[in-house]
Symmetry: C2
Subunit: 339 residues, 2 copies
DNA sequence: TCTTGGCACTCGCAGTTTGTGAGTGCCAAT
DNA sequence: ATTGGCACTCACAAACTGCGAGTGCCAAGA
């Protein structure tokens, strides 16, 4: 019906005005600024209906309305079109990311970029080791009884692990081990790396076999472990924008310091690659982020995700703009990482 | 004279009370709480003298006094003894740092530890590449015309750099190059690495010579570059303690995001190894940190610094406690990194 | 059934006033 | 040099007030 339609338009007006002014918006203002062609009284009736539906609320009796989490949800799902970035912005993203010299640099730049475009906090996860293939393995003998294993992946991550070994193992044996490990593991990823390496174990015997087993265990552990996932944070100072109060700021900063929490936040996300996930307020399921929204997206090839990135800001954020920014950065990041 | 002595005691009382209560302290309170054996009126006279000397100030006419930056300076230089950590704290530091598995982990743990002990923001610099010796060099051919160089240092840092080369260079040539690089560079540091490698250039000719030169340049650049210095930050959420106001918080968060700024902060520090540097308020020479103090220390061997770490907090911080914490963490970090 | 103008009502907010108390500076006495 | 006394200052909190934005409801009109 036309009335229902108008109510949604009223909701849109409330969300847009509130996002830009940060002040409760009243019926008169809507009637004036948005050409709905109806009087404030009609708007008031619609607002009463929207309030009954739980989409908007009054901070106090004699104030205007502000959207609830549910209101934002409806706005995002049904009312907002994605706002494409300007070509200048797209260009800026491209050139800024292209200038990166290594993986660390790429990830950091992506973070700073996203933080700057959205004016919020950005989180970027490093490409997950479980999704990367092994490009090279190196063994370096540090002491007679200590070996450093270095793993280089196709996404450019370099991981190092120490290993205590039997000091009687010769350097020549290590060279052989290194060759076998490389021949077997390069180009593979988990769980194939583990399978293939274990299948090749019969090539060794005695001390070499022991060391080989140790190395295989260490390597699979390195490639498997979830806690090896890393991320970077950018734009923390943006938290002090928008007149956020310090009592609300504290728990947010605390949440941002917990890498585990953030990684979980990034991992709970639509499987659909290319899609952007929006979680509003309590939908984040984190108490510290109760009053923030999180916009996340995967990045990686078109068939599989390498990792995720996202933007964290107040529930009253510019959703269309943030969604567009997250999507754009994710795309360019995907492109860069696939060389 | 005895009167001068008492005035300093009054200053100490003001600093200590203000640090613990965060409220301007008046003459009566001092006379009551600190057993100076004189009346409030006498204290008032002393306070007037301290104010003339610029060591304390009044926020407004009818309030008590708070220390000025200069007052804290005098307190730190002349009035405070270092407060040794409890053995429980020392133990906690030791066991927590010992549990680290690699360099990243060590540096992160040191940061979290320092942030937790001091209740402030902690900064820890990675061991500087210029001060590290080369432990191993590896060349990995990624494409016919692209080589990845991996440098491992004695402090555990692993750096990677890409290099475009002539695709006609054979794998065998790379193996030889790698061997020569390792033979010549391992155990050395800048500027010796560069000197020795250049001296060995006569071993190569033709394409190999070109690639060798490229590699040497890239390696020396990697080991020289100041902008390769890294650091970690911990305890940002501690900024919201102590009733800090948000308008003051903003510039601090911004300063903390600028790695370059922080590295400069860590590098401007007493040469004297083992000593702790204290910079109070504007002494930091950074506008954003105008109302904070920075306590820093080198870490590394007894003869040379590998890097620095520090704690950043309000000018009204617990100086003896923070100094002790920074020193203790720096020492344990030094011990760990020297294996 | 929906829309509209009118109107009384609510209530947060900003501005003003006022009382209180902590703290000071100065002075005369010791 | 120290002390008690005393007048003075001034931030802060509490109480009060007027204003105005915004609402809900109702009766009339389309």
């Amino acid at each position: 019906m036309q009335a229902d339609q108008r109510r949604l338009e009223v909701l849109r007006a409330i969300v847009e005005d509130y996002v830009s002014t940060r002040e409760p918006v009243g019926s008169k203002l809507i009637a004036e600024r948005h050409g709905l062609g109806v009087s404030p009284a009609t708007i008031r009736n619609d607002m009463a209906a929207l309030e009954d539906a739980g989409l908007i609320a009054q901070p106090h009796t004699s104030a205007g309305r502000i959207p609830t989490d549910l209101g934002y949800r409806v706005f995002v799902d049904r009312l907002s079109d994605v706002k494409p970035l300007s070509s200048a912005e797209r260009n800026a993203i491209k050139t800024f990311l292209d200038r990166a010299v290594d993986l660390d640099d790429v990830v950091h730049r992506a973070g700073r970029l996203l933080a700057q475009i959205t004016g919020q906090v950005a989180v970027v996860q490093y490409p997950s080791l479980r999704k990367s293939t092994v490009r090279h393995l190196e063994l370096v003998r540090l002491h007679p009884s200590r070996v450093l294993m270095v793993v280089i992946t196709d996404t450019g991550r370099v991981e190092q692990r120490h290993l205590d070994i039997d000091p009687t193992v010769t350097d020549e044996a290590l060279v052989t081990l290194r060759a076998t490990l490389n021949d077997t593991a390069v180009g593979q990823r988990q769980p194939h790396v583990g399978e293939r390496l274990r299948a090749a174990a019969h090539l060794f015997s005695g001390d070499s076999f022991d060391v080989y087993s140790q190395l295989v265990d260490l390597l699979t552990a390195t490639l498997d472990e979830e806690n090896e996932d890393r991320l970077v944070l950018a734009g923390t100072s943006n938290l002090t924008r928008n007149g956020v109060v310090i009592t609300q700021l504290r728990p947010v900063l605390e949440a941002l310091e917990e890498q585990v929490v953030l990684l979980k936040l990034l991992s709970e996300i639509a499987d659909d690659h290319g899609a952007v996930t929006v979680r509003i307020g309590r939908e984040t399921r984190l108490d510290g982020l109760r009053e923030t929204s999180v916009i996340t997206s995967h990045y990686g090839s078109s068939t599989e995700s390498l990792g995720a990135l996202g933007s964290i800001g107040p529930t009253g954020m510019d959703y269309p703009g943030t969604i567009a920014a997250v999507r754009a950065v994710a795309r360019y990041l995907s492109r860069i990482l696939s060389h």
